[in-house]
């Protein structure tokens, strides 16, 4: 699975992208975040700012409840500020 981070989330996590092997028991985005947070507490930012953070699964807007699998690309980013 590829996980991407943008804007200040990328700066906090310290990378724009990482590849992980998704354990079988992880079924949705929420579980993924809890899992990452067990490995390193820097991912806690995503839980702390949950109301602010946007999620995309395979480049489509999704939510913390969206089901995921190992072939997916997940992205975490703040509200957009283009234009």
């Amino acid at each position: 699975m590829i996980i991407k981070y943008f804007s200040w989330i990328k700066e906090h996590i310290g990378k724009s992208e990482e590849q992980i092997e998704l354990p079988d028991h992880i079924k949705n985005v929420n579980e993924l975040i809890n899992y990452l947070n067990e490995i390193d507490e820097k991912y806690n930012l995503i839980l702390d700012k949950k109301e602010l953070i946007k999620i995309a699964v395979n480049k489509t807007y999704s939510s913390f409840d969206t089901n995921i699998n190992d072939n997916d690309e997940i992205a975490f980013f703040p509200p957009v500020t283009g234009g």
Binding site: W8, P79, G83
Partner: protein, 157 residues
């Protein structure tokens, strides 16, 4: 050109764009009206009373284009547009630089005005771009402006 197949152009690029070239392209769409919007990098942050030295924009390649495409499809169904061009710059920009171009053509002016406005409002809230401003040698990620969400309400009716 049939009613259901407008000319569509979406570009995410570092380079500047030429409004007259884009307008000429929209003019070729068997149309009656063109409305262009050009966004410019502001040199002053009014909220924090600070001079902006430069700005950098990042985006999410692939998703940004597909979100813009969704907005465009919605817009031409709603406003009978004959041509739509969206160009958004990324990378390093300076105050007064052009940042975004939204140009639409339609047979009638109200549809062109509304279509352009609709695309810009949705682009501000959905298209994955993020701005970081440099002020006094400090970089700050720009926060989402709640008024951009409010602007969407006019399209609910």
């Amino acid at each position: 050109m049939t009613k259901n197949s407008p000319l569509i152009k979406i570009k995410i690029q570092n380079e500047d764009f030429d409004v007259s070239v884009e307008t000429k392209m929209l003019q070729q769409t068997n149309t009656g009206a063109i409305v262009n919007f050009v966004g410019i990098v502001r040199g002053y942050d009014e909220k924090n009373d600070q001079i902006i030295d430069s700005m950098t924009l990042e985006h999410y390649p692939g998703m940004t284009e597909s979100e813009i495409e969704k907005i465009i499809v919605e817009s031409y169904k709603k406003w009978e547009l004959t041509g739509i061009t969206v160009i958004h710059r990324v990378g390093d920009l300076k105050p007064s630089d052009q940042i975004v171009f939204v140009g639409v053509s339609s047979k009638h002016r109200q549809n062109a005005f509304n279509g352009c406005n609709f695309i810009m409002d949705w682009l501000k809230t959905k298209a994955p771009f993020w701005k970081v401003e440099e002020k006094n040698n400090k970089k700050n990620w720009v926060s989402f402006n709640e008024s951009d969400n409010q602007a969407l309400k006019k399209w609910e009716k």
